[in-house]
């Protein structure tokens, strides 16, 4: 049995104008010590997925369906007290911005000791020793001194190391990292990712890495989940997804990487932008932006089709595999070729 099992998760936000469905039918699993990447554009539901795993969706959001199973327990029906003993203790989380995640008025040591004392019966002295040990593990220079410093006295990279140390403090089974490097500069990003990878491997900690950086995903994770407009549209081994993406959206994402562009010409892009969650088109949510969209894509939500080791939610996978690209697949009532949404078509740069 997988350590973490997310089945048909449905998360909604009750807003003034009606319900917004942030996650629809999201399912995935994570084995012990496995590293999973969740990629997608802003607003695809990646962070909501992360918060839902920890059962931290705040009002007006709520879990409308599905279940999150962790080590045999169903988290979304757990009592708050039992959930508190899992949060931070067995599943911990790393946030995007290290400037904001640490409490500005408490010293690093106080924050770490407090976290330990909240979950274990432990003396202050022992807690301090553990905190120091963890700071050593994340290669903080002169850790003894850092314990008595305040967050503002440290650099961004150093703070993110401390946050990783705090995430590892109670030897969790899973770390959920929500874009852990976006707020850092590029050289530090690489260092932090390397550190995270090293520590996860060394301690056999599962990692759920949420990012929109495909480069990071390909270096760190074993499996990848691609999300679009609240749904999982493709999942499988990272290597296969990067090398041979099946879903037109994933293909578009990989094509949009700067290294995929011809030097001197414009970067590739996926035309249009992701629909807001209140106005998701019928059928496949990606259809207005898709080059391969056919009539069926406008009508039916695609189910997962197996393609090698990957699962892809696209009606046209088989057609694409057969090499039928760029045929006018959408037809109007008379059978003539038509485009799904003309407004989007006009801004195509081929």
């Amino acid at each position: 049995m997988a350590l973490l099992e997310v089945n048909n998760l449905d998360v909604r936000f009750a807003m003034r104008g009606g319900e917004v469905r942030a996650l629809r039918d999201v399912s995935f699993t994570l084995e012990r010590g496995e590293r999973l990447g969740i990629v997608g554009e802003s607003g695809a539901g990646k962070s909501v997925a992360a918060f839902t795993i920890l059962n931290l969706i705040a009002k007006p959001g709520y879990i409308a369906g599905g279940e999150i199973k962790f080590d045999g327990e169903v988290l979304n029906t757990l009592k708050p007290k039992a959930m508190q003993s899992i949060r931070g203790n067995r599943i911990s989380m790393i946030f995007q911005d290290p400037m904001m995640t640490l409490n500005p008025v408490l010293t690093i040591g106080e924050q770490m000791i407090e976290c330990l004392k909240a979950h274990r019966r432990i003396s202050r002295k022992d807690a301090r020793a553990i905190a120091l040990h963890k700071l050593n593990q994340v290669f903080i220079p002169s850790p003894e001194k850092r314990l008595d410093q305040y967050p503002h006295e440290l650099s961004g990279g150093m703070r993110q190391r401390i946050i990783i140390a705090i995430a590892l403090l109670l030897d969790p089974d899973i770390i959920v990292a929500d874009e852990p490097t976006t707020a850092l500069d590029v050289t530090i990003q690489a260092e932090i990712m390397e550190l995270l990878l090293l520590l996860c491997e060394k301690h056999n900690v599962g990692l759920i890495l949420i990012t929109h950086d495909l480069g990071v995903v390909s270096q760190v994770t074993q499996r990848t989940l691609v999300m679009y407009a609240g749904r999982v549209i493709e999942q499988g081994p990272t290597r296969e997804i990067i090398n041979d993406a099946q879903h037109p959206y994933t293909q578009g994402l990989i094509n949009a990487l700067p290294q995929m562009a011809t030097p001197g010409s414009r970067l590739n892009q996926i035309r249009g932008s992701m629909p807001t969650l209140t106005k998701i088109p019928a059928g496949c949510a990606f259809n207005p932006r898709c080059d391969f969209a056919a009539n069926i894509c406008l009508e039916k939500v695609p189910a997962f089709a197996h393609s090698g080791n990957c699962k892809v939610a696209c009606h046209m996978v088989d057609a694409m595999v057969a090499g039928e690209r760029w045929t006018p697949i959408i037809t109007d009532a008379n059978g003539n070729g038509a485009t799904p949404t003309d407004s989007h078509r006009t801004e195509v740069n081929a």
Partner: protein
Amino acid sequence: MSQSNTQSSNAPVTPKTSSIVVPGRWQRFRESYLVYSFKRDWMAQACLLVFIAMVLGAFLAPWIAPADPYDLASIDIMNSELPPAWMAGGDPAFLLGTDAQGRDLLSTILYGTRVSLLIGFGAVILQALLGVTFGLLAGYLGGRIDAFLMRMADIQLSFSTLMVAIVVGAIIKATFGGAAFSDYALILLILIIGLAEWPQYARTVRASVLAEKNKEYVDAARVMGFRSRRIMFRHILPNTLSPIFVISTVQIANAIISEAALSFLGLGMPETQPSLGSLIKSGFDYLQSGSWWITLIPGGVLIVLVLVINLLGDWLRDVMNPRLYKG
């Protein structure tokens, strides 16, 4: 990096003594912006000096005052309404003259300042306890609790302190008699002023909590599995302390003035244990007959006390406001 690598990953590592010296708390304080700006602000220094002098004078009154105004045996009615020592008819034994009952005005002012300060600080501590707790709860929990507490605050603010004092005073006097009221006047005034003014704190704290609670460190604290109470008091409260400090100074000054006003109206401290307010009142009747000192000298002391506290509060607000911080 390499040295840490070689350490075994399980046993807690005993700390190596670091070569960099960590500054102690006292040294950190001495190097802080607060002290830096204090050293460069003569106004703040002067105010603090005057304030400390007044506090010392008030609380050392039993030892430094020439007479004990509470000791009825030492009062001689024949000494009443003596002018200050430097005026014609003044008695060098009574530096600032005497009041209508023959009490030494200097001693009475020292004791009165003590009463005023006790009420001011006591009431503000009570206000802060109530206001901070309610403000934190309202801001952090939101929803119905927020609505309920804030409507309570609105209702409380619509009663003036005077009205609360009149009602409470009347009830106490009616049930326990005037003597009981005099005995417990100090505590009652602290309660009345404290209860009447807590919404100031609640509103300020709630506003800061609303700003703080959406910051990521609060999410992080929740992710670490802390309980709401711990997050509220240990994580959010310290981040809202600077506005609390600043309004505290204003509130102390306000509480002292409220007490003086209540005493002046006869709703506060009794004549036998005068505060600055009741001293001003007791002299008021004699103002027309030329004994100005009984009212004006305690009045002056009250003005200086409140002014000094307000000026210190202004300075503190400038220092602690991050938007004005030029560090």
